[in-house]
């Protein structure tokens, strides 16, 4: 039974086949249409009226969505933690910047190279450390992240060393607005690939693998090949995210890819809610925009500044303090993350009945050390 659990977002909450199909009433259809249009407006129209540097932040949020989905493949589908994801993203960013700035090739070739290198390094790292699983594997990725930071990103030819590498935006997408829509399109492609993948036999096998690798193996699932496959997909998405991030900033430097960023990546994915595509994208975008949101809605910061005895919280430090507090609150109060909370809304938007208690399948333990 556990093996047959379908992927979360499209999973019917209660598979009571006997019940008559629910059809929303006319007002229901209108209400749903209004919400859909509002969502579409927020993503597609709203940025048009904003300043360029703000749109740059929105693009970053969209790209973080891609990175969140990349991590979700590993963390959500395979149950392996990567604490070195900043390295994968960073190597993608530098590859793209290198192809465009040093080799003077096109943007598209740069992105393709970043995706390929992302997948390739995942293949190598995953292949070498196939025997190592669970939290031990997390440590390998953690250590790899440090190697990227202290060795790979110090290769002057590739990264420009401490001075960084310029990454001019591509022809035709040189304004922040156009580039934003390019990022949204890439996010849509990633969402589509992710969705298709989970519907294939390999996708279902992956989920089975995550719940119990031993049982999955008994059912003829090739655990090693599948894990590696998921790893490559995740690496390729991460490479893409890195490339897009590089051109968004028009400049890449080694300092960006620190261990703290790896933590932010894991945190945004977990807060988003593992295996919930919508949740992960929302969670990632939220953490990408945290500083910006705090600037726009200063009441949170004011609230903290009202605490007697505490020194004033500057705009530089506010996201550092408020981010982890929100994380801890989410985890302890809603361990399923945003994805679990928005499940009823998602189902409703898809034309089903609003069921407040629809919380999806219960979280299962990720086995710790499968040595």
């Amino acid at each position: 039974m556990a093996i047959a659990t379908p992927p979360a977002p499209t999973a019917p909450a209660t598979s009571s086949a006997a019940a008559p199909p629910f059809r929303p009433s006319l007002p229901g259809v209108v209400a749903r249409a209004i919400v859909w249009i509002a969502l579409g407006w927020l993503v597609l129209v709203f940025p048009l009226g904003r300043e360029a540097f703000e749109v740059q932040r929105y693009s970053e949020a969209v790209i973080f969505g891609i990175i969140g989905l990349s991590l979700n493949v590993l963390l959500g589908y395979v149950g392996q933690i990567s604490l070195g994801h900043q390295a994968f993203v960073g190597i993608g960013a530098f590859t793209a910047a290198y192809v465009v700035s040093v080799q003077s090739q096109s943007f598209w070739l740069g992105v393709a190279a970043a995706v390929a290198i992302g997948g390739l390094q995942a293949l190598i790292l995953g292949g070498v450390s196939l025997r190592i699983t669970g939290l031990y594997f997390a440590l390998v990725t953690l250590s790899f992240g440090l190697v990227a930071e202290k060795n790979i990103f110090q290769i002057e030819e590739l990264t420009g060393g401490g001075q960084g590498q310029p990454a001019p935006k591509p022809e035709g997408f040189s304004t922040d607005w156009r580039y934003y829509y390019l990022c949204v399109a890439f996010l849509a492609v990633v969402l589509w690939i992710d969705w298709r993948l989970m519907r294939t036999k390999a996708g279902r096998a992956l989920l089975a693998l995550r719940e119990n690798p031993k049982v999955a193996e008994t059912f003829g699932v090739n655990v090693k090949v599948l894990t590696l496959f998921a790893f490559v997909i995740s690496g390729a998405f991460a490479g893409l995210g890195g490339a897009l991030l590089a051109f968004n900033d028009t400049f890449v430097s080694p300092e960006t890819w620190s261990f703290n960023l790896a933590l932010v990546f894991v945190i945004m994915t977990v807060v988003g809610g593992l295996r919930s595509r919508a949740g992960v994208v929302i969670g990632s975008a939220f953490f990408a925009l945290l500083g910006y949101l705090l600037e726009k809605f200063s009441f949170l910061q004011d609230g903290i500044n009202a605490i007697p005895g505490a020194p004033d919280l500057s705009t530089e430090i506010a996201p550092l303090v408020i981010g982890p507090i929100l994380l801890l609150l989410t985890l302890t109060l809603f361990p399923g993350g945003i994805g679990q909370q928005i499940r009823p809304v998602q189902a409703w938007l898809r034309g089903r009945r609003f069921n407040r208690h629809d919380r999806g399948p219960k979280e299962v333990q990720i086995s710790d050390v499968r040595a």
């Binding site: 450390s129 933590l263 430090i317 982890p324 333990q365 710790d368």
Partner: protein, 319 residues
């Protein structure tokens, strides 16, 4: 049965130590051995706390470093007011308090959650602690005095070891042995181990698993605090997140190298990481590696050990 296990530990430890000494002495890197011992002792002490938490609850505790940093901050604030010895007690008390708070407010509500959720939660605690340190102080470094007012040094193989460092090394050895004995010989230690492997059965025996959890976190925080107050003043300065930034990743590497469940393993792992880092920096054959070659070497060693022995050097299978 148990004496075979113990001998296995002994044999592996001895083999590694002898191999390290022989190889390094032959390569003219005997100084790196001592430097590694110096730097690695701090990693080892932090790793002890990591192993303790992992052994008892299966959690990778990313907040371990911050127990130390918080202790150093309290030490810094207190030693303007009271004698250093009193300040150290206050600092350790603060670390323990933080450990208990983390257990009550974060770990306990997540008792049933996946281990990855707990990993993320402790990472969140570390980030929050660092941010609060920046908030109440500044992001810049500040001075910290040593515990020992005099600076005496011992020369070993041409490298000087300061007296406080010897203290740290001593603390590390004594604590690793004490904790290992605690888990083998005392009822409480056995209860903690039992609680981690069979929580239901432990409860059935009339032992409160939750109370044990608080206790373990308090001990781990004490170890973290001790690592902080002993290791940090040697550098003369510290900033927010000091131990997380400088020591946490090497400490994790040390713990995993040693086997994650082995307390002597944490000690051995710490020394190995320190030595490998030092060799990477000083040996001229690694000069061609961009950045700091030590980091790359540590990664290669970690990968090699885990591939050959997935349970780590001194770890036991199935625990």
């Amino acid at each position: 049965m148990s004496w075979i296990r113990e001998r296995q530990v002994l044999v592996i430890t001895a083999a590694i130590v002898v191999a390290l000494v022989v190889v390094l002495a032959a390569a003219g890197e005997k100084e790196s051995l001592v430097i590694g011992l110096i730097a690695g002792s701090a990693y080892g002490l932090l790793a002890l706390g990591l192993v303790l938490i992992y052994k008892s609850s299966g959690i990778f505790n990313f907040a371990q470093g911050e127990f130390g940093t918080v202790a150093v901050f309290v030490l810094y604030l207190l030693h303007f007011e009271v004698p250093y010895g009193v300040a150290i007690v206050g600092a350790l008390a603060a670390a323990v308090l933080m450990g208990v708070l983390v257990e009550r407010l974060v770990v306990r509500p997540l008792f049933e959650a996946a281990r990855v959720t707990l990993l993320v939660a402790t990472a969140g605690v570390a980030l929050l602690a660092t941010a609060v340190e920046i908030w109440f102080g500044e992001a810049t470094a500040r001075p910290i005095a040593r515990a020992l007012p005099t600076l005496d040094r011992v020369t070993v193989l041409g490298v000087q070891i300061s007296d406080q460092r010897l203290l740290l090394l001593g603390a590390l050895v004594v604590l690793a042995l004490l904790l290992a004995l605690f888990f083998r010989k005392t009822n409480l230690g056995l209860a903690i181990l039992g609680a981690s492997q069979e929580p239901t059965a432990t409860e059935l025996m009339g032992i409160s698993v939750r109370r044990l959890s608080t206790l373990t976190w308090a001990i781990a925080a004490l170890l973290g605090g001790l690592a902080g107050v002993l290791a940090v003043p040697e550098g003369g300065a510290f900033g927010p997140g000091a131990l997380t930034v400088a020591f946490l990743i090497p400490a994790f590497t040390a713990a995993v190298l040693g086997g994650m469940t082995s307390l002597p393993g944490a000690f051995l792992g710490g020394i190995i990481v320190g030595v490998v880092e030092a060799v990477g920096t000083s040996a001229s054959i690694f000069d061609g590696i961009p950045g700091s070659p030590g980091t790359l070497l540590v990664f290669v060693v970690l990968l090699a050990v885990l591939i050959v022995r997935p349970q780590g050097l001194l770890g036991q299978k199935g625990r």
